[in-house]
């Protein structure tokens, strides 16, 4: 603006302001009348709305009934809870210390000659309980057949896997021997049978030692 003020021209910005002030916006008398009429109409409508009694729908009869029923339900529930809590205090939690049964499983994939599914993988499990020193042996198959090899050896049939059958104190060495013999003989008889890595086909002595090491953790 310094430039304009310094100019010696015939018109400066102050003159522009004065000239602008001389300009009168076009009058809007018609519009003013229209707006006034519009606002008066709005005012009349507002007043008539205020004078009119608002319609209030009558309260349906079922509402108090529902409210009463809800009140009864809530009250009865509260009374029941109150009486229950006062008359039957919570029982003390029974502390039961249970020794976690360590379960050592020796998986022996076997198949028996009479089995209708020779390729069916069976799993012999030798389970030891450190508290009772009891050892249970049972057989699991994917089909639920629980007739195990080792129980058969000892003349026990129809041994179910649940619950495990406890043999009590018995000669574990004998069981291991029989299992190892059975394992090796099956491997020979069924060369296409894929044995698990955990129970490789081993010479009798080695196999027996391996099971011993596992059971030694009991």
């Amino acid at each position: 603006m310094t430039r304009q003020n310094d100019q010696k021209g015939p018109i400066d910005t102050e003159s522009i302001e004065n000239l602008l002030a001389r300009l009168t916006p076009a009058p809007q008398d018609e519009l003013a009348a229209t707006i006034s009429t519009t606002l008066e109409n709005i005012s009349v409508q507002t007043v008539s709305k205020q004078q009119r009694q608002p319609y209030r729908s009558p309260t349906p009869l079922y509402r108090p009934f529902i409210a009463g029923m809800l009140g009864l339900v809530v009250g009865a529930t509260a009374m029941f809870l109150l009486m229950t809590l006062t008359q039957f205090p919570p029982r003390p939690v029974k502390t039961e210390i249970r020794e976690i049964v360590r379960e050592v499983v020796v998986e022996v994939p076997v198949s028996v000659a009479h089995d209708s599914q020779p390729d069916l993988l069976k799993k012999e499990r030798i389970v030891g309980d450190p508290l009772t020193s009891e050892t249970a042996i049972f057989t699991e198959t994917p089909s639920g057949d629980s007739t195990g090899l080792l129980p058969m050896i000892f003349g026990l049939k129809n041994v179910t896997s649940r619950p495990p059958v406890s043999f009590g104190s018995f000669d574990l060495d004998k069981i291991i021997d029989e299992a190892a013999i059975r394992q090796n003989s099956l491997a020979v008889a069924h060369p296409r049978y894929t044995l698990r890595e955990s129970v490789p086909v081993l010479p009798h002595a080695e196999y027996r030692e391996m099971i011993r090491q596992v059971l030694g953790t009991l």
Binding site: R3, Q4, I11, L19, T24, P25, A26, L31, E40
Partner: protein, 165 residues
Amino acid sequence: MKNDKELKIKELIDSRLAALVLFARQWRNVAAEDIVQEAFVKLYRHEPWPDDPVAWLFAVVRNASNNYIRSDKRRKRHEERAQSARPWFLKPENDEQGKADDLAGTLARELELLDQEYREIIVAKTWGGLTFEQIAELLDSSRSTVHRKYQEGLALLQERLEGEI
């Protein structure tokens, strides 16, 4: 009109209506009168009464004009009717030398051709009677920016008017 609010609106109509219509026309808006009327109706219904009703009206008119002009259909209709647009100003009166008529008329035409960023400030200041603070709030800008643009607008008008002479 009976109550206090209606009296205030009546005063605003008497004093600011022409300036508000002129302000609305900055957007080349054929619906300027409708927009201003709607602004007054909004003011009538507005609760509570605004602290600065003049600035409030200008803000409402500005927002409504911006919204109106954004519509493509309305813009086309505007272009069709632009030729029949009403004059922004009354014909200026002559002074003793009879020169003011020409100058002011030229200035009015140049004002219409001025960029809107300058023109709306000049209109709001000169005929709306708004202060620079009020205009800054209206445009969501700073007072110094508004003042600078006002001066720049005047300088542009000055240059163009000198070119016409």
